[in-house]
Amino acid sequence: MAQKPIIEAKQLTKVYNGRPAVDRLDLAVYEGEIFGFLGPNGAGKTTTLLMMLGLTEPTGGSVRVMGLDPARHPLEVKARIGYLQENMGFYRDLTGRQSLAYIAELNGLDRQTAEERIREALEAVAMTAAADRKIVTYSRGMRQRLGIAEVLIKKPKIAFLDEPTLGLDPEATNRMMELIRDLCRRHNMTVVLSSHFLHQIQKICRRVGIMIDGRLVAQGPIEQLARERLGVGDRTYSLEEIYMHYFQEH
């Protein structure tokens, strides 16, 4: 891949209380791809995303997002990245539409643009019918879809989706993954997707990174990892096998 990465981390490190949560991470994400960010809980995925967003200061190393340093140009970087945090929170007394309007206002959109984008985003995640209900009344799946809509409002070049399928039933998980794939294609968005649903990840991502205990132990196209690790060429393999292989090794 001769392309220049849209996100590039070099020796990125974050130390919490003397313990590295992210340890000398080298990572590259390319434009237009859906990058699967895998690893057990506490591996340091969220910490990495926060550093790439400029919400957490790295202890060492460097990140560039579209050539910008998030620590020095936080506003520019945040304007270009839509971030769906894990365990996303909502202002529960607002309606879905009001919540989206607030995000639009924070992004400095004028009223007309905001209304247009809210309508589009609601349609894209199939939430138009529920838009004027309070968020308290939403189901988990609806909240997650509203979260995606809040990302779409910004029309970001890059989206960080941190466990968007957490707590969803299998059917809703499938639909969420399909939604993400469609949106990525339609808007030519680059997506960094962290999830534990390896089966679905395998379906929508070409490249993945596997993080264990703060270290990125593998990075690359899934079939390449399979070839290197499992020694399989034409046999069918699953991402799960690859993942378990790394997991047992560390």
Partner: protein, 318 residues
């Protein structure tokens, strides 16, 4: 500033639609109405058939209606208002996961804390203004005295000092909401601070002063003066005392000093009586200027500390 207006508007809307605000406002409106009404009635009776001096108008604020005056009410319960408006400003959003959502938008981090402070301060100003307007209206009706420019000026100054005073408590509450992760803890801490400064400082000041002058005979004038000095020095640590001093000569034009004068002899009493006419507003202001400046400094410092802590704090809720 990027994001400030959006957050400010949302915070204001939240305050206006919250039960907390409704209850507080109902309570304050009720107390101020009753107090001012009773005080006004008493005064109207006392002044019947006499020429009313214009300073009577200000007495509405300082005369005890139902056991306490309005100025005392604000001194005592104003802090509670400030604390209630701010004790969960940051930690509630942190716990509900909306803080990182807010901060992942292209806004400056300080816009969040500035807008929250400004919105709550706006609420404080609105409530105080409402109280003052109610009292002024009542005064017009009951006493039939129209306040002159001087009285209006005094009320305006009193209003500004009061907003700063309550904003100080707001800043304290916001600091607590930044430092403490749990909303229940910060509420409790706020309450504890309020009780400490309301009750214990004056009791403590008295105890310290007594123990420091314990070996002097009780009627020794030097010891009495010393005791009063120590008490004053300690109780100035309390924002309540500071505020009481700062407004003393403003709402009561006949007061010349913030000190509790200890009358030692006849000569002093004579000299007091000799200058007992009311002071003009600028003179009154001059007397309490140090107190006002100190109060403003405290508020600014307190907010600056919250600001600095918040700017450096880890965002995620762990």
């Amino acid at each position: 500033m990027k994001g400030f207006m959006a957050i400010y508007r949302k915070e204001l809307a939240d305050h206006f639609s919250s039960y907390r605000f409704l209850i507080l406002f109902a309570l304050i409106a009720m107390v101020s109405l009753i107090t001012a009404y009773l005080a006004g009635m008493n005064m109207a009776k006392a002044l019947e058939g006499r020429i009313k001096p214009t300073t009577v108008f200000l007495s509405l604020f300082t005369a005890a209606g139902a056991g306490f005056s309005l100025v005392q009410f604000v001194t005592f319960f104003g802090p509670l208002l400030g604390l209630l408006l701010g004790f969960d400003a940051i930690n509630r959003e942190r716990n509900e996961g909306t803080l990182s959502k807010l901060l992942s938008q292209p806004i400056y981090r300080d816009a969040v804390i500035n807008a929250k402070f400004a919105a709550a301060a706006t609420m404080i100003a609105l409530m105080l203004a409402a109280i003052i307007l109610v009292i002024t209206g009542l005064g017009l009706v009951i006493l039939g005295v129209v306040p002159d420019a001087e009285a209006l000026g005094r009320i305006l100054v009193y209003f500004v000092i009061s907003v700063v005073y309550i904003a100080l408590w707001l800043a304290v509450a916001i600091l607590l909401s930044i430092l403490l992760r749990s909303v229940a803890t910060s509420a409790l801490a706020a309450l504890a601070l309020w009780i400490f400064f309301s009750f214990f400082i004056s009791i403590g000041a008295n105890a310290v002063a007594n123990s420091l002058t314990a070996d002097a005979p009780p009627d020794d004038p030097a010891a009495i003066v010393k005791r009063a000095r120590i008490e004053n020095a300690i109780s100035i640590l309390s924002p309540m005392v500071l505020y009481t001093n700062a407004t003393a000569t403003i709402v009561d034009p006949s007061r010349k000093t913030t000190r509790n004068v200890i009358r030692v002899g006849v000569m002093e009493q004579l000299s007091m009586a000799r200058y007992s006419g009311p002071l003009p507003l600028d003179q009154s202001l001059l007397v309490v200027l140090p107190n006002i400046v100190f109060l403003i400094c405290l508020t600014v410092i307190c907010f600056a500390v919250s600001y600095l802590v918040f700017m450096r704090q880890e965002i995620r809720s762990l």
